[in-house]
């Protein structure tokens, strides 16, 4: 027990006195959150689109239409003549121009289908992707009003957004999962260095038990994982108001399980690396596919289907999913039990391989 305590202390001192380790463990994930957070929230949440409106019809329906668009807070509406507005679009002063042609109201009154023309620049795909669904929504609402069920046009802008999480809400749990993965994988680097420098051999010449050695490393990394998680959650909450909605105990449980899984994976990799120079590429080889194919930065639905089997095999997919479910109550990709099962499975496999192949010298 005395040896365990002193080894823990030695681990902590070695760690705290290495600036690079501190940077990668604590500052790197925070940078990630701040940068991505700035990109997503600055760019998307407070944006308003300049939209030109050309009304060439003087019917009441056309007027209703105009009012309805005016209520969309994401749109800054400008009314004007067709030629002027299209020119403004070409000059980049408008994101889109909507045109209600003459006879719009009459066509509807006659029971026909009236067209609203939308002019936009297809190369501005990012804004168009947001703009068109909103226009569609407004038109749908009017349409429904005209078919008789509701008399007034009611634009409920909330329904446009409430189905999806904010990008930052999606991202933060993923970053936390990624940070735990990196912690676990890189935690073995000092052990490989110690092996290379014969420190492990020297420890082997004392009565110290190997189990004590491993236990101190595992406990130390669990402590660091908790600190890392706390820091990420606090920064995300203070700066971007990312909530913690679920049960803290579940969250802690997943952090522990995730850290153990990736520690075991790290030990497994270190069993196949002669020294630090061969260990690093090995870790990179494992961590980069996981970073990008585990739905950390963007939902897996956005990825091409042929990658699906790979994504479904990665433990980070499941850790990210479970932390996301607990933290921001995202819709579940898998049930918790499946997530736990897959992570525990990876843990066991890595552990068995590590125990079989790990060399102390």
């Amino acid at each position: 027990m005395k040896a365990f305590r002193y080894l823990l202390l030695a681990n902590a001192r070695q760690f705290l006195r290495e600036k690079a380790a501190l940077f990668w463990t604590f500052l790197f994930p925070i940078f990630f959150i701040l940068i991505f957070g700035a990109v997503f929230s600055g760019g998307m949440d407070n944006v308003s689109f300049d939209v030109g409106l050309v009304i060439e019809d003087d019917s009441a329906i056309a007027q209703n239409m105009s009012d309805a668009f005016g209520q969309v807070t994401a749109f800054k509406m400008t009314s004007g003549q067709r030629d002027d507005e299209l020119k403004a679009l070409q000059d980049g002063e408008r994101r889109a121009v909507l045109v209600l042609e003459q006879g719009f109201g009459e066509t509807i009154a006659m029971g026909g289908t009236a067209n609203i023309s939308v002019y936009y620049d297809p190369t501005q795909s990012s804004s168009v992707q947001i703009l068109l669904p909103i226009v569609q929504k407004v038109v749908d609402n009017i349409d429904r009003a005209l078919s008789g069920s509701t008399p007034r046009v009611q634009l409920n802008e909330q329904t446009l957004q409430s189905h999806s999480l904010r990008a930052i809400d999606y991202l933060v749990p993923g970053i936390l999962a990624m940070a735990l993965m990196q912690l676990g994988l890189f935690a073995v680097a000092p052990i490989v260095v110690d092996r290379e420098n014969k420190v492990l051999k020297r420890l082997g010449a004392t009565p110290l038990k190997r189990s004590t050695m491993i236990a101190s490393t595992v406990v130390f990394n669990l402590i660091v994982a908790m600190m890392q998680a706390a820091l990420i959650i606090i920064i995300a909450r203070v700066v971007f108001h990312v909530p913690m909605m679920g049960n803290w105990l579940y969250l802690i449980g997943f952090i522990v399980l995730g850290t153990l899984t990736f520690l075991a994976m790290g030990y497994m990799l270190s069993a196949f690396a002669k020294n630090q120079q061969t260990l690093m590429p090995l870790i990179m080889f494992v961590q980069f596919p996981m970073m990008f194919l585990s739905g950390i930065f963007f939902p897996l639905e956005m990825m091409p289907g042929f990658l699906r089997p790979i994504m479904d095999a990665m433990p980070l997919t499941y850790l990210g999913d479970s932390i996301r479910q607990v933290m921001v109550e995202s819709s579940a990709m898998h049930a918790h039990l499946i997530n736990i099962g897959v992570l525990a499975g990876w843990f066991m496999v890595c552990l068995i391989v590590a125990v079989r192949f790990f060399r102390w010298e």
Binding site: K2, A3, R5, Y6, L7, L9, A10, R13, Q14, R17, E18, N197, K198, V199, K201, R202, L203, G204, A205, T206, P207, L208
Partner: protein, 305 residues
């Protein structure tokens, strides 16, 4: 005196190489026992098997009467080990490392006492990475003494050190022996073996070829003394060998070693020959035979090539 280390018919094979080939010896309580041999002779492998950190293929090792193979942790609790190359935790200080290693044993000597013993007072709060080679080696010996061991194992403790550091370490070793501890040391330095060791085992190609007190080993193989010099020009080996009182000789490039049982006679004959043939002799000196000469005689090679 009773034996604290007993090694019987030890064998260890790596692939085709017999690293340790049927080695037997014993170390008495309180003595400094040295194992002398070139790199790759099997010194380190033998020592590490005795320490219990390497398994032999065959043979039996008793340390303090305990079978190492069956009770390695019991042995490790009572011995102190210094490995050939250990760079320790680079970001821990001398004091912190001593405390850490002390925690591995049921009873530990205070760090301050060990710091004083090896003369690291000035560096007690320095990080290991900032220590010089000699200081690291002294710390390494302090760590080996942290459990107040009955036997101290030192694997080439002065390898690569400057003469000043080497002398520092020698006096630490002598002090430790004065305290009644047994020391088992490997080295490839003749001076080290001759100065420190009560008994020396000469080992080559995994086999012990001679064990005795250093001066006994020398006198047993050489009654004569050695004359060394360098030749200004080449000369036939036979001519040198036939000089008066020369019993044996060695010619390496231009460097000559003549073993003679009557130094004055040989010197006179050598001078006469040199004058006659107009040969220049440089760096000439006379010395008594050393363990190096014994090794040379027994193996036909120098210990450091």
């Amino acid at each position: 005196m009773s034996a604290v280390i007993e090694v019987k018919n030890l064998r260890k094979v790596y692939g085709d190489i017999k690293a340790v080939d049927d080695v037997s010896f014993s170390v008495a309580e309180g003595e400094i026992f040295g194992m002398l041999g070139p790199n790759g002779a099997g010194k380190t492998t033998t020592m590490e098997i005795v320490e219990g950190i390497r398994n032999p293929d065959a043979g039996k090792v008793l340390v303090l009467g305990i079978d190492v193979k069956h009770h390695p942790r019991k042995v490790k609790t009572n011995i102190g080990v210094q490995l050939q190359t250990t760079s320790l935790y680079p970001r821990l200080t001398v004091r912190e490392v001593l405390k850490l290693f002390g925690s591995f044993f049921p009873r530990a000597v205070s760090g301050e006492r060990l710091i004083k013993l090896v003369g690291l007072e000035e560096s007690r709060n320095k990080r290991c990475a900032a220590l010089s080679g000699g200081q690291q080696q002294r710390l390494s010996i302090a760590l080996a003494l942290v459990n107040n061991p009955k036997i101290l194992f030192l694997d080439e403790p002065t390898s690569g050190l400057d003469p000043q550091s080497r002398h520092n370490i020698w006096s630490v070793i002598e002090y430790v022996r004065k305290k009644g501890k047994t020391v088992f040391i490997t080295t490839h330095y003749m001076e080290e073996a001759e100065r420190l060791c009560d008994r020396v085992a000469i080992i080559d190609h995994g086999k012990i070829i001679a064990v005795d007190k250093p001066d006994k080993l020398i006198s047993q193989h050489f009654q004569e003394q050695a004359i060394e010099f360098e030749l200004g020009q080449k000369i036939g080996e036979d001519e040198l060998r036939s000089l008066a009182s020369v019993t044996n000789m060695l010619l390496e490039e231009r460097k000559v070693t003549l073993y003679s049982n009557s130094i004055p006679t040989t010197i006179m004959a050598l001078m006469d020959m040199a004058k006659q043939k107009g040969i220049e002799l440089t760096n000439l000196y006379v010395r008594r035979a050393t363990l190096e000469d014994v090794f040379l005689k027994l193996t036909g090679r120098r210990i450091r090539e």
